[in-house]
Amino acid sequence: MALKGNAAIVGAAQYRPEKYQTAPRMFHLEQVADLASRALADAGLKADDIDGLVINGPQFHEASVFVPAMAAEYLGLNLNFAEVVDLGGCTSVAMVWRAAMAIEMGLCQAVLCVLPARMAPMGPDEDPSWMARAMRFGGHSTAFGAPEAEFDLPYGHMGQNTGYAMIAQRYAAQYGYDPLAMAKIAVDQRSNALANPDAMFFGKPLSAEEVLASKMVADPLHVLEIVMPVAGGAAVIVASKELAAKARHRGAVIKGFGEHLSFKSPTYAADMTRTPIGPAAARAFAMAGLKPADVDAAQIYDCYTITVLLTLEDAGFAPKGEGMRWVREHDLTWRGNFPMNTHGGQLSFGQAGSAGGMSQVIEAFTQISGRAGERQLKRCDTVFVSGTGGVMSEQGALILQGA
């Protein structure tokens, strides 16, 4: 499959990550409208240029079905393409390539990809305990007949932490483990966040010693190797070449993409340490006619440090099984020889639900359009972006290139 390079990210908007307790509460429809108009202003396009919408279905507050139609009505959009994406942390990357496909196919000219992730106001008769109930099992379904409800929950297998911990433990048994290299991932990303005033941990330096001294959550993962959930929300506008030419900033052209998934619990992976980003990234690079060494930066989905390590290996940046040595030998900061998660990554920027992954997409666009401020890379034409949902369950890759 080949792309014509007819679709580019031309505008973006993102709420500053905030603690849930202090963030404003807004209806999701209102967040969508707010983020959409900010992204539109960033792009310098007109509302009636937008004729495509990609939105989240799960966790949308005001509806669980018919979400695109409700959002189109609320925004006043005429859509030739509407899509819901349900791929957890891979959603953002998945949204962008679906939008690009629709544009390449000539279905539409400009697509709003939007993920509201602030909490909605509480209704007068709403019982807050539903939220506690929903949170109790993390992303695990409790529905009758759901395999994970039957075969995971009774044993205490639930949420994300222990799944990632078990992947890390398997990796350690197969390839060895260097806690200091894992801590370095968090530390280098924190250095990046120190140059990003929007990051949750801006102004808060971090050392490897502090990471390793932080509370162990599930062996071998420390709490400072795990993202902090925050309130937020994000939107990007993907537009055709014709519209991109009218946009205010240098667009980030979608040159390649890939997606791969085959399980929800990594227990059922053929090999737990060979993650779905492998085939996804290989496809993306092949489509773009590029190799890992060709990128100027990588924005790698980082719910955990182990996610980053395995993505570096399986996407082809580091040799398999040598990721920890590779991390020790590379400077992952914006000043370094492998700029990665230059906004701080979600570990230091904050993870706004499924919009968290959009922070990586938006950072790629921000760098390509030359607006990254203090952390701006001298040369940034080609960026690799990854998304990861579930427990390394669903992964996607984008290759973005400056227009």
């Binding site: 305990s129 009774p154 205490g156 078990m166």
Partner: protein, 313 residues
């Protein structure tokens, strides 16, 4: 056994698996067309999509594919298993199973080690979970005795220093930043909660209606009254390590602070520890504040914090 831990709810598809476990037998489906073993149970082969599958008994022998030890319980209800030894076991037939390891010390656990199944009856309806242990281990089945009949653990022995209340310096020296060792454990089961509901008149459904609490409550089942857990301190012998002597009268003066930071699910075991927070000379005598923390066994967060004020006169 009454706990709020999630229990498996068998379906028409999976029932033979769970029924097998109750008999101490591990049965899993196998594809007659391609020979692929199937786990978790399905009616089709997840390799070739044939529907010609049949249940077969297997030995349960396998090896440890991976594991983690949790330092924070994945759910408060699992606090009694800390650290949870969550594991993925690969049976010799090739299928992998999410499970937990039992009867193994932390330093005995190794990826790749050989394992054998343990059929663990976890509910008085006979519900049985498939756990695993080392091949050289002997696990005594826990049987079906309800938790209420388990004797409370004995209080730990500790040497006791006598401190005369008149010795101001010695009294003040009791103040400590660190807590005592744990007390004996006490089971807070539904029967006890029901008794307390009758006694106190607080019969709110979150405490007394296990069915409604499971379906509608935020905790997956009933929880104990905070006040109940507070008064259970009387059943817990905290190894304070000191005994104040030489007073004419000792008064429980109440509490400076009482907090219920986390719930105690029905069926949980609780234990307490304490520290002397302050000692002050008052007009009426010597006032000692004992900060008592009651925790669900294994839980990091206390369920009750009580700054108990004791006045020696």
């Amino acid at each position: 056994m009454s706990t709020n831990k999630p229990m498996p709810v068998p379906t028409d598809i999976s029932a033979p698996f769970w029924d097998g476990l109750k008999r101490g037998s591990l049965t899993i489906p196998r594809c007659n067309s391609c020979g692929h073993w199937i786990f978790y149970p399905r009616r089709h082969c997840d390799k070739c999509w044939s529907h010609d599958v049949a249940w077969q008994e297997v030995s349960g022998a396998g090896s440890l594919y991976t594991y983690t030890l949790t330092r924070i319980p994945t759910l408060p209800d699992f606090a009694d298993e800390m650290p949870q030894a969550l594991a993925v076991v690969e049976l010799d037939e090739g299928v992998r199973i999410n499970t937990t390891l039992v009867g193994l010390a932390e330093d005995e656990i190794r990826v790749g080690m050989r394992l054998k199944p343990v059929f663990d009856t976890v509910h008085d309806d006979g519900s049985t979970l498939l756990r695993f242990t080392g091949v050289d281990k002997t696990i005594t089945p826990r049987g079906q005795a309800p938790a209420t009949e388990q004797p409370a653990t004995p209080a730990p022995a500790v040497t006791v220093v006598k401190v005369p209340v008149s010795d101001e310096a010695a009294m003040r020296a009791l103040v400590s930043e660190s807590f005592t060792p744990w007390s004996n454990e006490v089971v807070v089961d539904q029967a006890l909660i029901d008794e307390f509901a009758r006694l106190s008149g607080d019969d709110y459904w979150i405490h007394t209606d296990p069915d409604k609490a499971r379906k509608q409550g935020p905790f997956g089942g009933t929880i104990a009254h905070g006040a109940l857990v507070q008064v259970l301190q009387s059943r817990m012998k905290i190894p304070l390590g000191f005994e104040v002597t030489g007073f004419t009268n000792m008064v429980n003066y109440g509490s400076d602070r009482l907090r219920f930071p986390s719930p105690v699910p029905a069926g949980a075991r609780v234990q307490a520890r304490a520290r002397v927070k302050s000692v002050d000379r008052m007009k009426s005598g010597t006032q000692l504040v004992l900060e008592v923390h009651t925790h669900v066994v294994g839980a990091e967060r206390p369920s009750v914090i009580n700054d108990l004020v004791i006045l020696y006169m």
